[in-house]
Protein backbone atom coordinates (compact mmCIF):
# COMPACT_ATOMS: atom_id res chain seq x y z
CA UNK A 1 0.00 0.00 0.00
CA UNK A 2 1.29 3.45 -0.90
CA UNK A 3 1.69 5.72 2.12
CA UNK A 4 3.43 8.76 0.65
CA UNK A 5 3.04 9.81 -2.97
CA UNK A 6 5.07 12.66 -4.45
CA UNK A 7 3.43 13.52 -7.74
CA UNK A 8 5.18 15.91 -10.15
CA UNK A 9 6.16 18.29 -7.38
CA UNK A 10 7.95 21.51 -8.34
CA UNK A 11 9.44 24.26 -6.20
CA UNK A 12 11.12 27.39 -7.53
CA UNK A 13 13.08 30.03 -5.67
CA UNK A 14 13.16 32.95 -8.08
CA UNK A 15 15.00 31.66 -11.13
CA UNK A 16 16.24 28.50 -9.41
CA UNK A 17 14.14 25.36 -9.68
CA UNK A 18 15.07 23.54 -6.48
CA UNK A 19 12.69 20.64 -7.04
CA UNK A 20 11.67 19.89 -10.60
CA UNK A 21 8.66 17.70 -11.53
CA UNK A 22 9.68 15.15 -8.94
CA UNK A 23 7.67 11.94 -8.49
CA UNK A 24 8.14 8.85 -6.32
CA UNK A 25 6.19 6.86 -3.74
CA UNK A 26 6.85 5.25 -0.39
CA UNK A 27 5.04 2.05 0.55
CA UNK A 28 3.70 1.55 4.05
CA UNK A 29 6.52 0.33 6.34
CA UNK A 30 9.34 1.08 3.89
CA UNK A 31 12.63 2.74 4.81
CA UNK A 32 13.86 4.75 1.83
CA UNK A 33 17.01 6.81 1.51
CA UNK A 34 16.88 10.21 -0.18
CA UNK A 35 20.30 10.85 -1.68
CA UNK A 36 21.93 13.48 -3.78
CA UNK A 37 24.84 15.91 -3.70
CA UNK A 38 24.63 19.07 -1.60
CA UNK A 39 22.18 21.55 -3.10
CA UNK A 40 20.31 18.89 -5.05
CA UNK A 41 17.02 19.75 -3.34
CA UNK A 42 16.72 17.07 -0.65
CA UNK A 43 15.99 19.37 2.27
CA UNK A 44 13.69 21.44 0.06
CA UNK A 45 11.72 18.28 -0.64
CA UNK A 46 11.56 17.44 3.08
CA UNK A 47 10.32 21.00 3.72
CA UNK A 48 7.71 20.59 1.00
CA UNK A 49 6.42 17.37 2.54
CA UNK A 50 6.32 18.77 6.07
CA UNK A 51 4.54 21.95 4.98
CA UNK A 52 7.34 24.46 5.63
CA UNK A 53 7.33 25.35 1.96
CA UNK A 54 4.43 25.51 -0.45
CA UNK A 55 4.88 23.66 -3.73
CA UNK A 56 4.57 25.62 -6.98
CA UNK A 57 3.17 22.59 -8.74
CA UNK A 58 2.26 18.96 -8.23
CA UNK A 59 0.69 17.11 -5.33
CA UNK A 60 1.85 15.31 -2.21
CA UNK A 61 -0.50 12.81 -0.59
CA UNK A 62 -0.31 10.73 2.58
CA UNK A 63 -2.45 7.60 2.36
CA UNK A 64 -4.57 9.37 -0.26
CA UNK A 65 -5.00 12.55 1.82
CA UNK A 66 -3.61 15.68 0.16
CA UNK A 67 -0.82 17.38 2.11
CA UNK A 68 0.03 20.10 -0.41
CA UNK A 69 -1.40 23.46 0.61
CA UNK A 70 -1.51 22.57 4.29
CA UNK A 71 0.33 24.31 7.10
CA UNK A 72 3.09 22.50 9.05
CA UNK A 73 0.84 21.95 12.08
CA UNK A 74 -1.84 20.40 9.87
CA UNK A 75 0.71 18.14 8.20
CA UNK A 76 1.99 17.14 11.66
CA UNK A 77 -1.52 16.26 12.81
CA UNK A 78 -2.03 14.23 9.62
CA UNK A 79 0.79 11.98 10.87
CA UNK A 80 4.08 13.33 9.53
CA UNK A 81 6.92 13.89 12.02
CA UNK A 82 10.38 15.22 11.25
CA UNK A 83 13.78 15.97 12.68
CA UNK A 84 15.90 18.94 11.60
CA UNK A 85 19.27 19.14 9.93
CA UNK A 86 20.41 21.36 12.81
CA UNK A 87 19.01 19.80 15.95
CA UNK A 88 16.10 21.78 17.46
CA UNK A 89 15.20 21.10 21.06
CA UNK A 90 13.72 23.39 23.69
CA UNK A 91 16.61 23.77 26.16
CA UNK A 92 14.62 25.34 28.99
CA UNK A 93 12.07 22.51 29.16
CA UNK A 94 12.62 19.09 30.69
CA UNK A 95 13.03 16.03 28.47
CA UNK A 96 9.51 14.89 29.31
CA UNK A 97 8.07 18.31 28.46
CA UNK A 98 9.98 18.43 25.18
CA UNK A 99 8.61 15.08 24.14
CA UNK A 100 5.09 15.71 25.47
CA UNK A 101 4.49 18.55 23.01
CA UNK A 102 3.51 16.50 19.93
CA UNK A 103 1.62 14.05 22.15
CA UNK A 104 -0.52 16.97 23.32
CA UNK A 105 -0.93 18.81 20.02
CA UNK A 106 -0.71 15.94 17.56
CA UNK A 107 -3.47 13.84 16.06
CA UNK A 108 -4.24 12.02 19.34
CA UNK A 109 -4.45 15.09 21.63
CA UNK A 110 -3.32 13.42 24.84
CA UNK A 111 -3.23 15.48 28.02
CA UNK A 112 -1.92 15.19 31.58
CA UNK A 113 -0.82 11.75 32.76
CA UNK A 114 -1.65 10.25 29.39
CA UNK A 115 0.65 12.66 27.54
CA UNK A 116 3.40 12.01 30.09
CA UNK A 117 3.02 8.26 29.53
CA UNK A 118 3.40 8.72 25.76
CA UNK A 119 6.46 10.89 26.40
CA UNK A 120 7.97 8.31 28.75
CA UNK A 121 7.46 5.54 26.18
CA UNK A 122 9.14 7.63 23.49
CA UNK A 123 12.07 8.47 25.78
CA UNK A 124 12.41 4.80 26.64
CA UNK A 125 12.62 3.86 22.97
CA UNK A 126 15.59 6.17 22.43
CA UNK A 127 17.22 5.24 25.73
CA UNK A 128 16.67 8.53 27.61
CA UNK A 129 14.02 7.41 30.11
CA UNK A 130 16.48 7.63 33.00
CA UNK A 131 16.91 11.38 32.54
CA UNK A 132 13.29 12.33 31.90
CA UNK A 133 13.27 15.27 34.32
CA UNK A 134 16.63 16.86 33.37
CA UNK A 135 16.43 20.01 31.33
CA UNK A 136 17.12 19.42 27.66
CA UNK A 137 19.85 22.05 27.47
CA UNK A 138 22.09 19.86 29.67
CA UNK A 139 22.23 17.02 27.11
CA UNK A 140 25.21 16.13 24.92
CA UNK A 141 24.87 16.47 21.15
CA UNK A 142 24.00 12.80 20.52
CA UNK A 143 21.48 12.85 23.36
CA UNK A 144 19.91 16.02 21.92
CA UNK A 145 19.54 14.15 18.65
CA UNK A 146 17.99 11.24 20.53
CA UNK A 147 15.62 13.67 22.24
CA UNK A 148 14.59 15.15 18.92
CA UNK A 149 13.87 11.65 17.65
CA UNK A 150 11.86 10.84 20.79
CA UNK A 151 9.81 13.99 20.18
CA UNK A 152 9.10 12.84 16.63
CA UNK A 153 8.06 9.42 17.95
CA UNK A 154 5.71 10.88 20.55
CA UNK A 155 3.64 12.23 17.67
CA UNK A 156 2.95 8.56 16.86
CA UNK A 157 3.66 9.36 13.21
CA UNK A 158 2.79 7.35 10.13
CA UNK A 159 5.69 8.89 8.28
CA UNK A 160 8.99 9.96 9.80
CA UNK A 161 11.32 12.33 7.94
CA UNK A 162 14.92 12.17 9.14
CA UNK A 163 17.01 15.03 7.75
CA UNK A 164 20.66 13.99 8.21
CA UNK A 165 19.86 12.72 11.65
CA UNK A 166 23.06 10.64 11.75
CA UNK A 167 25.40 13.47 10.71
CA UNK A 168 28.10 14.42 13.17
CA UNK A 169 28.07 11.19 15.18
CA UNK A 170 31.22 9.23 16.04
CA UNK A 171 31.47 5.56 14.88
CA UNK A 172 30.07 4.11 18.11
CA UNK A 173 27.20 6.57 18.16
CA UNK A 174 26.58 5.93 14.49
CA UNK A 175 26.19 2.20 15.11
CA UNK A 176 23.78 2.97 17.96
CA UNK A 177 21.88 5.42 15.77
CA UNK A 178 21.50 2.90 12.96
CA UNK A 179 20.25 0.26 15.40
CA UNK A 180 17.77 2.78 16.80
CA UNK A 181 16.34 3.69 13.39
CA UNK A 182 16.11 -0.01 12.51
CA UNK A 183 14.10 -0.67 15.67
CA UNK A 184 11.68 2.11 14.70
CA UNK A 185 11.26 0.65 11.27
CA UNK A 186 10.59 -2.77 12.79
CA UNK A 187 7.78 -1.21 14.81
CA UNK A 188 6.08 -0.32 11.50
CA UNK A 189 6.91 3.38 10.94
CA UNK A 190 7.56 4.40 7.35
CA UNK A 191 10.79 6.40 7.18
CA UNK A 192 12.34 8.72 4.59
CA UNK A 193 16.02 9.29 5.39
CA UNK A 194 18.10 12.12 3.95
CA UNK A 195 21.64 10.92 4.46
CA UNK A 196 25.20 11.30 3.21
CA UNK A 197 26.64 8.42 5.23
CA UNK A 198 26.57 5.50 2.79
CA UNK A 199 27.25 2.95 5.53
CA UNK A 200 23.97 3.98 7.16
CA UNK A 201 22.07 4.04 3.86
CA UNK A 202 23.29 0.50 3.03
CA UNK A 203 22.40 -0.75 6.50
CA UNK A 204 18.92 0.77 6.67
CA UNK A 205 17.44 1.33 3.23
CA UNK A 206 16.37 -1.34 0.82
CA UNK A 207 15.67 1.35 -1.75
CA UNK A 208 16.94 4.83 -2.48
CA UNK A 209 15.74 7.78 -4.53
CA UNK A 210 18.53 9.98 -5.84
CA UNK A 211 18.16 13.67 -6.70
CA UNK A 212 20.43 15.91 -8.70
CA UNK A 213 19.68 19.59 -9.44
CA UNK A 214 16.10 19.11 -8.32
CA UNK A 215 15.41 16.14 -10.59
CA UNK A 216 15.03 12.46 -9.80
CA UNK A 217 17.92 10.55 -11.39
CA UNK A 218 17.42 7.14 -9.79
CA UNK A 219 14.76 5.23 -7.88
CA UNK A 220 16.03 1.71 -7.34
CA UNK A 221 17.44 -0.88 -4.93
CA UNK A 222 20.24 0.60 -2.81
CA UNK A 223 23.07 -1.59 -4.13
CA UNK A 224 22.02 -1.02 -7.75
CA UNK A 225 21.82 2.73 -7.24
CA UNK A 226 25.20 2.97 -5.58
CA UNK A 227 26.74 1.29 -8.65
CA UNK A 228 24.65 3.32 -11.11
CA UNK A 229 26.99 5.45 -13.29
CA UNK A 230 24.49 8.35 -13.25
CA UNK A 231 24.46 8.39 -9.49
CA UNK A 232 28.23 8.14 -9.22
CA UNK A 233 28.65 10.93 -11.77
CA UNK A 234 26.22 13.14 -9.89
CA UNK A 235 28.13 12.71 -6.66
CA UNK A 236 31.69 12.77 -7.97
CA UNK A 237 31.09 15.14 -10.85
CA UNK A 238 29.94 17.92 -8.55
CA UNK A 239 32.64 17.48 -5.94
CA UNK A 240 30.80 16.60 -2.75
CA UNK A 241 31.68 14.88 0.47
CA UNK A 242 30.11 11.55 -0.51
Amino acid sequence: MTLLAIDHVTKRFGGLTAVNELSFTLAQGEVVGLLGPNGSGKTTLVNLISGDLAADGGRITLAGETLTGRRPDQVARAGVARTFQLVRILPSLSLTENVMIPAVFGAKSHWGAEARAVARDALERVGLAGRAETSAGALTYIDQKRLELARALAAEPRLLLLDEWLAGLNPTELAEGIALIRSLSESGITILIVEHIMEAVRALCSRVVVMNSGRLIADEATETALRDPHVIAAYLGEGTDA
Binding site: S50, P72, D73, R88, I89, I101, F105
Partner: protein
Protein backbone atom coordinates in the same frame (compact mmCIF):
# COMPACT_ATOMS: atom_id res chain seq x y z
CA UNK B 1 -3.26 26.22 50.30
CA UNK B 2 -1.93 28.64 47.70
CA UNK B 3 -5.46 29.37 46.54
CA UNK B 4 -6.63 29.96 50.12
CA UNK B 5 -3.71 32.33 50.70
CA UNK B 6 -4.45 34.24 47.48
CA UNK B 7 -8.13 34.56 48.40
CA UNK B 8 -7.25 35.80 51.90
CA UNK B 9 -4.94 38.41 50.34
CA UNK B 10 -7.72 39.41 47.96
CA UNK B 11 -10.20 39.89 50.83
CA UNK B 12 -7.64 41.95 52.76
CA UNK B 13 -7.03 44.12 49.68
CA UNK B 14 -10.77 44.52 49.14
CA UNK B 15 -11.11 45.84 52.71
CA UNK B 16 -8.08 48.13 52.41
CA UNK B 17 -10.01 51.27 51.24
CA UNK B 18 -11.71 51.49 54.64
CA UNK B 19 -8.40 52.04 56.40
CA UNK B 20 -6.64 54.56 54.16
CA UNK B 21 -6.78 58.25 53.28
CA UNK B 22 -7.86 59.55 49.87
CA UNK B 23 -4.22 59.78 48.88
CA UNK B 24 -3.67 56.20 50.04
CA UNK B 25 -6.66 55.06 48.02
CA UNK B 26 -5.21 56.82 44.96
CA UNK B 27 -1.97 54.90 45.42
CA UNK B 28 -3.89 51.64 45.81
CA UNK B 29 -5.81 52.28 42.60
CA UNK B 30 -2.59 53.10 40.73
CA UNK B 31 -0.79 50.02 42.04
CA UNK B 32 -3.69 47.68 41.26
CA UNK B 33 -4.05 49.25 37.81
CA UNK B 34 -0.41 48.55 36.97
CA UNK B 35 -0.65 45.04 38.44
CA UNK B 36 -3.58 44.46 36.08
CA UNK B 37 -1.78 45.99 33.11
CA UNK B 38 1.45 44.05 33.69
CA UNK B 39 -0.40 40.77 34.31
CA UNK B 40 -2.69 41.36 31.35
CA UNK B 41 0.28 42.19 29.12
CA UNK B 42 1.97 38.97 30.23
CA UNK B 43 -1.04 36.86 29.18
CA UNK B 44 0.24 37.23 25.62
CA UNK B 45 3.83 38.47 25.87
CA UNK B 46 4.94 36.51 28.94
CA UNK B 47 5.34 33.13 27.31
CA UNK B 48 5.48 34.00 23.63
CA UNK B 49 8.22 36.63 24.22
CA UNK B 50 6.55 38.90 21.69
CA UNK B 51 7.26 42.24 23.34
CA UNK B 52 4.19 44.38 22.74
CA UNK B 53 4.26 48.16 23.13
CA UNK B 54 0.57 48.37 22.25
CA UNK B 55 -0.57 48.38 25.89
CA UNK B 56 -1.58 52.03 25.80
CA UNK B 57 -3.39 51.58 22.48
CA UNK B 58 -5.84 49.28 24.26
CA UNK B 59 -5.77 51.04 27.62
CA UNK B 60 -6.46 54.39 25.94
CA UNK B 61 -9.16 52.90 23.72
CA UNK B 62 -10.91 51.66 26.87
CA UNK B 63 -10.78 55.10 28.44
CA UNK B 64 -11.94 56.82 25.27
CA UNK B 65 -14.84 54.41 24.82
CA UNK B 66 -16.12 55.44 28.26
CA UNK B 67 -15.60 59.12 27.43
CA UNK B 68 -17.65 58.80 24.24
CA UNK B 69 -20.40 56.47 25.47
CA UNK B 70 -20.85 57.31 29.16
CA UNK B 71 -23.90 59.46 28.55
CA UNK B 72 -25.46 57.15 25.99
CA UNK B 73 -25.76 53.92 27.96
CA UNK B 74 -25.50 52.48 31.47
CA UNK B 75 -21.99 52.12 32.88
CA UNK B 76 -21.94 48.31 32.97
CA UNK B 77 -22.91 48.23 29.31
CA UNK B 78 -20.17 50.74 28.46
CA UNK B 79 -17.63 48.41 30.09
CA UNK B 80 -18.83 45.45 28.03
CA UNK B 81 -18.75 47.49 24.82
CA UNK B 82 -15.22 48.70 25.66
CA UNK B 83 -14.06 45.10 26.17
CA UNK B 84 -15.60 44.08 22.85
CA UNK B 85 -13.98 46.99 21.00
CA UNK B 86 -10.59 46.07 22.47
CA UNK B 87 -11.06 42.44 21.44
CA UNK B 88 -12.14 43.46 17.94
CA UNK B 89 -9.12 45.72 17.43
CA UNK B 90 -6.80 42.97 18.70
CA UNK B 91 -8.38 40.47 16.34
CA UNK B 92 -7.90 42.65 13.27
CA UNK B 93 -4.42 43.81 14.27
CA UNK B 94 -3.39 40.32 15.34
CA UNK B 95 -4.49 38.69 12.11
CA UNK B 96 -2.34 41.05 10.11
CA UNK B 97 0.74 41.29 12.33
CA UNK B 98 1.36 38.18 14.38
CA UNK B 99 3.47 36.86 11.54
CA UNK B 100 5.98 39.62 12.32
CA UNK B 101 8.81 38.43 14.51
CA UNK B 102 11.15 40.05 17.00
CA UNK B 103 11.93 43.71 16.66
CA UNK B 104 9.46 44.21 13.79
CA UNK B 105 6.63 43.25 16.08
CA UNK B 106 7.87 45.63 18.79
CA UNK B 107 8.07 48.54 16.36
CA UNK B 108 4.70 47.72 14.88
CA UNK B 109 2.96 47.69 18.26
CA UNK B 110 4.57 51.01 19.17
CA UNK B 111 3.35 52.41 15.86
CA UNK B 112 -0.11 51.05 16.52
CA UNK B 113 -0.43 53.09 19.73
CA UNK B 114 0.56 56.26 17.87
CA UNK B 115 -1.78 55.43 15.00
CA UNK B 116 -4.78 54.98 17.28
CA UNK B 117 -3.94 58.25 19.03
CA UNK B 118 -3.58 60.16 15.76
CA UNK B 119 -6.77 58.66 14.33
CA UNK B 120 -8.81 59.67 17.34
CA UNK B 121 -7.26 63.14 17.36
CA UNK B 122 -8.05 63.55 13.67
CA UNK B 123 -11.60 62.34 14.18
CA UNK B 124 -12.23 64.61 17.14
CA UNK B 125 -10.79 67.67 15.44
CA UNK B 126 -12.32 67.17 12.00
CA UNK B 127 -15.59 65.38 12.69
CA UNK B 128 -16.79 66.20 16.19
CA UNK B 129 -14.91 69.48 16.43
CA UNK B 130 -13.77 68.94 20.04
CA UNK B 131 -10.50 67.56 21.27
CA UNK B 132 -11.14 66.88 24.94
CA UNK B 133 -14.07 65.13 26.56
CA UNK B 134 -15.43 65.06 30.08
CA UNK B 135 -16.37 61.96 31.98
CA UNK B 136 -19.01 62.80 34.58
CA UNK B 137 -19.80 59.47 36.08
CA UNK B 138 -21.18 58.71 39.47
CA UNK B 139 -18.44 56.18 40.24
CA UNK B 140 -16.56 56.66 43.50
CA UNK B 141 -12.83 56.04 43.94
CA UNK B 142 -13.62 53.02 46.10
CA UNK B 143 -15.79 51.52 43.38
CA UNK B 144 -13.05 52.06 40.82
CA UNK B 145 -10.60 50.36 43.17
CA UNK B 146 -12.87 47.37 43.65
CA UNK B 147 -13.54 47.03 39.93
CA UNK B 148 -9.85 47.19 39.14
CA UNK B 149 -9.04 44.73 41.93
CA UNK B 150 -11.64 42.32 40.53
CA UNK B 151 -10.17 42.67 37.02
CA UNK B 152 -6.63 42.15 38.35
CA UNK B 153 -7.68 39.07 40.34
CA UNK B 154 -9.54 37.69 37.32
CA UNK B 155 -6.43 38.25 35.17
CA UNK B 156 -4.20 36.34 37.59
CA UNK B 157 -6.78 33.54 37.85
CA UNK B 158 -6.96 33.41 34.04
CA UNK B 159 -3.15 33.26 33.83
CA UNK B 160 -3.08 30.39 36.34
CA UNK B 161 -5.70 28.57 34.31
CA UNK B 162 -3.87 29.12 31.01
CA UNK B 163 -0.59 27.90 32.47
CA UNK B 164 -2.20 24.59 33.38
CA UNK B 165 -3.86 24.05 30.05
CA UNK B 166 -2.94 23.34 26.46
CA UNK B 167 -2.93 27.01 25.60
CA UNK B 168 -0.18 27.68 28.16
CA UNK B 169 2.03 24.86 26.89
CA UNK B 170 1.42 25.96 23.29
CA UNK B 171 2.43 29.56 24.12
CA UNK B 172 5.59 28.40 25.90
CA UNK B 173 6.63 26.26 22.95
CA UNK B 174 5.92 29.14 20.56
CA UNK B 175 8.09 31.39 22.74
CA UNK B 176 10.94 28.89 22.60
CA UNK B 177 10.83 27.81 18.96
CA UNK B 178 8.00 28.48 16.52
CA UNK B 179 9.29 25.94 14.01
CA UNK B 180 9.19 23.13 16.56
CA UNK B 181 5.77 24.34 17.68
CA UNK B 182 4.35 24.14 14.17
CA UNK B 183 5.84 20.70 13.52
CA UNK B 184 4.41 19.43 16.77
CA UNK B 185 0.91 20.28 15.56
CA UNK B 186 0.42 23.67 17.25
CA UNK B 187 -1.60 26.08 15.06
CA UNK B 188 0.60 29.16 15.43
CA UNK B 189 -1.73 31.90 14.22
CA UNK B 190 -4.76 30.72 16.18
CA UNK B 191 -2.82 30.20 19.41
CA UNK B 192 -1.11 33.59 19.29
CA UNK B 193 -4.32 35.33 18.30
CA UNK B 194 -6.26 33.78 21.20
CA UNK B 195 -3.71 35.01 23.75
CA UNK B 196 -3.39 38.43 22.09
CA UNK B 197 -7.16 39.01 22.12
CA UNK B 198 -7.50 37.89 25.75
CA UNK B 199 -4.65 40.19 26.74
CA UNK B 200 -6.03 43.15 24.77
CA UNK B 201 -9.49 42.74 26.27
CA UNK B 202 -8.03 42.95 29.79
CA UNK B 203 -5.93 46.02 28.92
CA UNK B 204 -8.93 47.76 27.35
CA UNK B 205 -11.14 47.02 30.34
CA UNK B 206 -8.44 48.39 32.64
CA UNK B 207 -8.51 51.66 30.70
CA UNK B 208 -12.31 51.79 30.83
CA UNK B 209 -12.38 51.17 34.59
CA UNK B 210 -9.66 53.74 35.30
CA UNK B 211 -11.18 56.45 33.09
CA UNK B 212 -13.63 58.11 35.56
CA UNK B 213 -10.59 59.12 37.65
CA UNK B 214 -9.41 61.40 34.88
CA UNK B 215 -12.66 63.38 34.56
CA UNK B 216 -11.17 65.15 31.52
CA UNK B 217 -9.61 63.07 28.74
CA UNK B 218 -7.89 63.91 25.50
CA UNK B 219 -5.76 61.70 23.24
CA UNK B 220 -2.38 63.01 24.43
CA UNK B 221 -3.33 62.16 28.04
CA UNK B 222 -4.82 58.70 27.61
CA UNK B 223 -2.43 57.50 24.92
CA UNK B 224 0.73 58.32 26.85
CA UNK B 225 3.42 55.87 25.62
CA UNK B 226 5.03 55.80 29.09
CA UNK B 227 2.19 53.49 30.14
CA UNK B 228 3.33 50.90 27.57
CA UNK B 229 6.98 51.14 28.61
CA UNK B 230 6.19 50.98 32.33
CA UNK B 231 4.05 47.90 31.81
CA UNK B 232 6.85 46.12 29.98
CA UNK B 233 9.49 47.00 32.59
CA UNK B 234 7.23 45.93 35.44
CA UNK B 235 6.40 42.57 33.90
CA UNK B 236 10.02 41.90 32.94
CA UNK B 237 11.36 42.95 36.34
CA UNK B 238 9.13 40.49 38.19
CA UNK B 239 9.30 37.75 35.56
CA UNK B 240 6.84 37.91 32.70
CA UNK B 241 6.43 34.15 32.38
CA UNK B 242 5.60 33.58 36.05
CA UNK B 243 2.13 33.80 37.56
CA UNK B 244 3.13 36.34 40.25
CA UNK B 245 6.00 37.92 38.35
CA UNK B 246 4.11 40.96 36.98
CA UNK B 247 2.63 41.64 40.45
CA UNK B 248 6.06 41.52 42.02
CA UNK B 249 7.41 43.95 39.44
CA UNK B 250 4.43 46.31 39.29
CA UNK B 251 3.92 47.20 42.96
CA UNK B 252 7.45 48.38 43.87
CA UNK B 253 8.02 50.08 40.53
CA UNK B 254 4.71 51.92 40.67
CA UNK B 255 5.52 53.20 44.16
CA UNK B 256 9.06 54.10 43.12
CA UNK B 257 7.81 56.09 40.13
CA UNK B 258 5.15 57.83 42.18
CA UNK B 259 7.85 58.99 44.55
CA UNK B 260 10.33 59.88 41.81
CA UNK B 261 7.81 61.78 39.70
CA UNK B 262 6.78 63.81 42.76
CA UNK B 263 10.37 64.56 43.79
CA UNK B 264 11.94 64.96 40.35
CA UNK B 265 9.07 65.84 38.02
CA UNK B 266 11.34 66.85 35.13
CA UNK B 267 14.12 64.33 35.33
CA UNK B 268 12.37 61.15 36.40
CA UNK B 269 12.23 59.64 32.86
CA UNK B 270 16.02 59.32 33.18
CA UNK B 271 15.48 56.90 36.06
CA UNK B 272 12.97 55.03 33.94
CA UNK B 273 15.56 54.58 31.20
CA UNK B 274 18.30 53.55 33.60
CA UNK B 275 16.03 51.03 35.23
CA UNK B 276 15.06 49.60 31.86
CA UNK B 277 18.73 49.03 31.04
CA UNK B 278 19.43 47.57 34.47
CA UNK B 279 16.54 45.08 34.26
CA UNK B 280 17.54 43.88 30.81
CA UNK B 281 21.19 43.44 31.78
CA UNK B 282 20.95 42.14 35.34
CA UNK B 283 17.64 40.30 35.44
CA UNK B 284 16.65 39.36 31.90
CA UNK B 285 14.28 36.67 33.20
CA UNK B 286 13.02 38.68 36.15
CA UNK B 287 13.40 38.65 39.92
CA UNK B 288 11.64 35.32 40.42
CA UNK B 289 13.94 33.46 38.01
CA UNK B 290 16.94 35.24 39.57
CA UNK B 291 15.90 34.11 43.05
CA UNK B 292 15.46 30.54 41.84
CA UNK B 293 18.93 30.60 40.33
CA UNK B 294 20.37 31.83 43.63
CA UNK B 295 18.56 29.04 45.45
CA UNK B 296 19.83 26.27 43.17
CA UNK B 297 23.33 27.71 43.37
CA UNK B 298 23.16 27.54 47.17
CA UNK B 299 21.95 23.94 47.20
CA UNK B 300 24.65 23.04 44.70
CA UNK B 301 27.27 24.68 46.92
CA UNK B 302 26.08 22.63 49.84
CA UNK B 303 26.14 19.43 47.79
Amino acid sequence: MKIALSLAALVALALAPFGVSDYGLGLLIGAVTYVTLASGWAVFSGHTRYVSLATVAFYGTGAYTVAVLNEAMPYWLVLIVAGLIGAAIALVVGLSTLRLAGVYFVIFTFGLSELVRQLITWYEVNVTGTLGRYIFLDVSAREIYWQMLALGAATIALTAWIQRHRLGLALRVIGDDEVVAAHSGIPLARTKLTAFVLSATILTLAGAIASPRWVYVEPSIVFNPTVSFLTVIMALLGGANRLWGPVLGAVPLFLAFEWLSARFPDTYPIFLGLLFILVVFALPDGILAGLERLKTRKTEDRA
